[in-house]
């Protein structure tokens, strides 16, 4: 039993943290949010480092590492709110790697791994269709519970942008026949859900970090507001939610790599807890910042907005709790 990142995984984490701290600081994020544009130079650099293909097999042009390593990167990307389509690309690649035919894998994985093709991925269901997308996605993967999963090339797709509250990522709806994915669709859905959970844990961790910095600094009644238990206990709860979500996240990522039979339950647990955690932690961040937290000028709202979108993307907490009930046979399936 070793429930910790390996030295190599820690190194990946540190590299990502340092690069994104230098290249995706608050000013960059703000500029990207205002212009609603991806940072092409950063994306090129990240692609050259092999991030989008980190979990893709070497024979498909990836680095051949696992979902754990991808989650390490996504956590950092989420924490930095990096204006690059890492989740859409890596997510589309995950879905094709698990759910695609050999021909689809040949066709798309090397390009997605290299960042030369861009992707979009999401789910369609009772509540409509929501994909996280690169700005001009070449390939869109729709994981549809009712009609199976399909892959649609841009030329065949009717893509409707979904201008959301989160200006740091493109979200779209898509229609079009496309071609069906034929592989392990459950694993495709589950791994993408875990990827979204990973980014969400990063968002929550960052919200806590910003809040701590603020409440140590901000003084009222002649003391830092972080010395009031009403504030400090809220911060402790933010840590609790973040760490719980992180525990179940890495359990799910590990299961995908090492013990796939555990993945369905682990993935739904990870996605449900991450969705609940990231929403409550980012909401708490706004509250703990007081009035300033409600202003456009403070940066916490970008986190809150991403949290809301991520909570819905690939199924909300309610949907995953319903699935868990069925998987646990607490409730009849269906």
């Amino acid at each position: 039993m070793d429930f910790d990142l390996s030295p190599e995984q820690r190194e990946i984490q540190a590299t990502a943290r340092d690069l994104l701290a230098a290249r995706s600081g608050p000013a960059v994020v703000r500029e990207a949010a205002q212009s609603r544009r991806e940072d092409a130079a950063l994306w090129k650099e990240i692609s050259e480092l092999g991030w989008p293909g980190i979990a893709i097999a070497e024979r498909h042009g990836g680095q051949g590492l696992g979902l754990v390593e991808l989650c390490v990167l996504l956590e950092q990307a989420g924490a930095a709110l990096a204006p690059v389509p890492l989740l859409p690309n890596a997510g589309a690649a995950l879905a094709i790697a698990h759910g695609g035919t050999p021909r689809q894998q040949e066709r798309w994985l090397p390009a997605l791994a290299a960042g030369s093709a861009s992707g979009a991925v999401g789910a369609a269901g009772r509540d409509g269709c929501l994909l996280a997308a690169a700005a001009e996605a070449d390939v869109l993967v729709v994981l549809d519970d009712r009609h199976g999963a399909r892959l649609i090339e841009r030329s065949q797709a009717q893509v409707t942008p979904l201008p959301s509250i989160d200006p740091l990522r493109t979200y779209v709806e898509v229609e079009g026949e496309g071609e069906p994915l034929g592989g392990d669709l459950a694993a495709a859905r589950d791994t993408v859900a875990v990827a979204v959970a990973a980014e969400s844990v990063g968002v929550a961790a960052r919200a806590l970090e910003m809040t701590l910095a603020y409440v140590k600094e901000r003084r009222q009644f002649d003391v830092p507001v972080g010395s009031f238990q009403a504030v400090s206990h809220r911060c402790a709860e933010m840590l609790l939610h973040t760490e719980q979500a992180r525990s179940v996240l890495y359990h799910a990522a590990w299961a995908s790599d090492a013990e796939p039979a555990r993945l369905p339950q682990a993935a739904s647990l990870a996605k449900a807890l991450a969705a609940e955690a990231v929403v409550s932690v980012t909401a708490s961040a706004i509250q703990a910042h007081g009035g300033i937290g409600f202003t456009w000028e403070a940066d916490v709202h970008w986190l809150y907005k991403r949290a809301q979108m991520n909570a819905v993307l690939m199924g909300g907490a309610g949907e995953h709790r319903r699935r868990l009930a069925a998987l646990l046979a607490i409730a009849p399936a269906g």
Partner: protein, 379 residues
């Protein structure tokens, strides 16, 4: 990262499970306190004879030198088998490791073996009426004599004191020194004049705890542990140990309660109620999050010698989840669960103590805020 158990961890679990299957603890005497403690004494005797009494102790003291993961496995399997905690759990988990770290060779020689065998039961005399969460405020006074100390004061929440031969006692030896500095850690013989134990009846009706009155009780000089004035540091060793292995016993017990509740709801055909199902799923999620977070904590202790940020969270998570689980059981089963003597009624009432004993949730949040998050001292 590898969340499978190693071959030796699996072998450890299998050997233990086989032993437990061959040595079932027998039915729990319900509602009879003396018989219940007798059951736990007998259980410790059998654990001791089987070589399982203190797996986490080093082999030189009669343990198995088990790793922290194996120790967690031990408590998980104990819980799974429906076995009680051994009678001398405070000696095994708290007094023993504290004596190993701070004790002289003579002290180790004298005290460790009877802790292991259960021959001498230990209790913990830390809390006082005016020193609960603020433990360093203890007022119990120790006055020096030629060959020892005379101790007077009052302790409270002293579990198992009525059965104990020895007490880990924290008392003030220097009234002039700063609060944390004037304390000394004593090993107090409970069988003497000047020691009075009075049971405290708790909301369940039973008496796990006692008040302990000390009126000139004597402790010989050689029964100071860790040196005069070092009591706070020594006590912290005890408190750190308090939170380790037990978490896994409690976590497995909670999982069993949840499974039992799901089964009862199923038999009553209540699982067609989506609101109930969602709450059961929510409890499942929190049990899983707790189990996995506790495992993360084990790895941190193993690799870095101390728990990471997640380590301060598990007791908090367990206590709240257990309370909610018991409350849901009452909602599912109604008045039946509230009948006097009903198992759920006991669990419900007992669970109120969970967020208080071993550090209130409020104090745990303060600890997280100050030590993990680096926030200024709370007001």
């Amino acid at each position: 990262m590898d969340l499978t158990f190693t071959e030796s961890e699996r072998a450890f679990r299998e050997e233990l499970a086989a032993w437990l299957a061959a040595n079932p603890p027998g039915p729990e005497p319900v509602g009879q306190e003396e018989a219940h403690f007798g059951w736990r004494r007998e259980w410790q005797r059998r654990l001791y004879e089987g070589g399982w009494a203190a797996v986490h102790w080093p082999a030189q003291y009669g343990g198995r030198g088990a790793s922290v993961v194996e120790s967690a496995i031990f408590f998980e399997e104990l819980g799974r088998a429906g076995a009680p905690l051994p009678a001398n759990v405070l000696g095994l988990l708290l007094a023993g490791p504290t004596i190993m770290l701070w004790g002289s060779e003579e002290q180790k020689e004298r005290y460790l073996a009877p802790i292991l065998s259960g021959q001498e039961i230990w209790c913990q005399g830390f809390s006082e009426p005016d020193a609960g969460s603020d433990l360093a405020a203890v007022k119990t006074r120790a006055v020096a004599e030629a060959d020892g100390w005379r101790i007077s004061g009052q302790k409270v929440w002293t579990s198992i004191a009525q059965h104990a031969k020895w007490c880990m006692l924290l008392a003030r030896t220097d009234a002039q020194a700063a609060k944390h500095r004037g304390l000394t850690y004593f090993l107090l013989d409970m069988e003497q004049e000047g020691v009075t134990v009075r049971p405290l009846r708790q909301i369940t009706g039973e008496s796990e705890f006692n008040e302990l009155f000390l009126d000139g009780a004597f402790v010989a000089s050689e029964n100071v542990l860790g040196g005069e004035g070092n009591g706070w540091k020594v006590a912290l060793t005890t408190l750190m140990n308090e939170r380790a292995g037990l978490a896994f016993f409690l976590q497995v017990r909670m999982r069993q309660l949840l499974e039992a509740l799901i089964e009862q709801a199923r038999r009553r055909e209540r699982l067609d109620d989506p609101l109930l199902v969602d709450r059961l799923v929510g409890l499942h999620m929190r049990c899983e999050a707790l189990r996995l977070t506790a495992y993360r904590g084990l790895t941190a202790i193993e690799k870095y010698g101390q728990p990471g940020p997640e380590g301060s969270l598990t007791k908090w998570m367990w206590s709240q989840t257990n309370q909610e689980l018991c409350q849901l059981a009452v909602e599912v089963l109604g008045a039946q669960a509230l009948r006097e003597g009903a198992p759920w009624a006991y669990e419900l009432l007992r669970s109120r103590g969970n967020t208080i004993e071993g550090g209130t949730t409020e104090i745990l949040k303060n600890i997280v805020a100050e030590r993990v998050l680096g926030l200024p001292k709370a007001r």
